[in-house]
Amino acid sequence: MPEGVVYTGIPSREELAACPGIPTEARMARGRVAVIECVQEIPCNPCESACRFGAIEIGEQLTALPRLDGEKCTGCGLCVALCPGLAITIVDKSFSATESTVDFPFEYLPLPGEGDTVDACSRAGETVCPARVVAVKKSPAYAGTAVVSIRVPTAFADEVRTMRRLPRREEDI
């Protein structure tokens, strides 16, 4: 199967390398920062309007790819919840000597609880490793999207982008 987002739904290594929304390795090592995996020119800019720090720029041309300024980004995570494409995560490779956190949007019930162990999954939905839930953030500003933060071994921080959905309970239905 050929690689690339139009063939797999997953941006290829090359597409990610060319993507202006991905911060540098050094920036990720310094602490929380947005990782914007937006590689197709679609007319959309809520990430730019969401950012209070001016760290995301799209400009007049609505289809331009979002450009991240890693120096301005504080990793606050508002863009994670507001991206309609759910294409943004917050990665923090400074979490501990061996672990990183990945914050991702999660729109399935039930939500995990803080401290739970969940399956961390890749862009292809494959289980990468077990992960501890650090936080589950819900805010009216998130407009219904929860943001889940999990910690994973730093070796997997570039690979993990979500968690496996949890089985539904009667009370969620």
Partner: protein, 373 residues
Amino acid sequence: MRKITAEIAVVGAGPAGLCAALEARLAGADVVLIDENRLPGGQLFKQIHKFFGSKEHRAGVRGFAIGQELLAQVSDSGARVLLDSLVYGIQPDKSMGLLTAGENCLLLAEKIIIASGAKENYTPFPGSTLPGVMGAGAAQTMINVNRVLPGARVVMVGSGNVGLIVSYQLLQAGAEVVAVVEGAPRIGGYGVHAGKLRRAGVPFYLGHTISRAYGDDGVRHVEIARLDERWNPVPGSEFTLDADTICLAVGLNPMTELVWMAGCQFDYIPALGGHVPLHDRNMETTVRGLYVAGDVTGVEEASSAMEEGKLAGVAAAEALGYLDARAAKEKKAEIEARLNRLRSGLFGEKRREAKETQLAAMQRARESEKEVV
């Protein structure tokens, strides 16, 4: 026969019709907005995802929330809204037949805006009449409006944005999507929508088709075959998935019956879903005083439909003298700029070109009309 009159009648209370009615009413016109459904909003209330675009297009806001805001604005505006009411016909003199509250009425309006939307395409295959086969839009209505899960294991046919978005919403509603099947060698919709499904473990079968569905009392098994480069199934490539629901997301076509009946000229533009009424930059058709807006003018998406609705509302109000030429021109320029921003990029460019073709055909129609005169 009871007579209902208005300066402007808007047929269809989806995103385009709501916006058209609102703009025209705010300009001061007497507006009646009619919809055959019991609830207004068209497809907006089943759009539980966040919209794309920018702030001016309500990006980041979920479709149903946009619908709620629009409804409140329309009811505050003083526009009359007739629900559960069907405009079933239109005469050459533009008088309309309307069934409302069980009564057959005559509807008379100086200007008419038709915003009747679009309907889903169907694709036949052996087993496609079994219970459990439905349009993706039908499944979306079931889960998001009626809160009924159509099945536990779904095969989605088509990877355009409708197929991708409804697949995601089926997962959210608690179903499993066991496959997205797409005849083309590439995913049709936004990569980010496909990415949500891939992260949830949904497999994509590109260059594949449904060869048949079978089961005693409904869909139980779905056979899928690979397609060669001429879109013929490759013998021996078939495999079977267990599923109880098949959703068809194979495109939409404009609901043009009323517009045909009114005698408007059409063009055939496949990129817009088939036969589409010609219209000018005011959304006025070849029949003077009859405007169109939204998917009936060519299938796009809700944000563009809202802008087209505003355009038609402004133009109709201007034609009645509620807006002077300068104010109308300014408003229309703003709306056109927003429309152009939506019709750009990898996915929007084709729609922009198709709409240009449609406008050019309209231009020619108007010119030949002049020659006849």
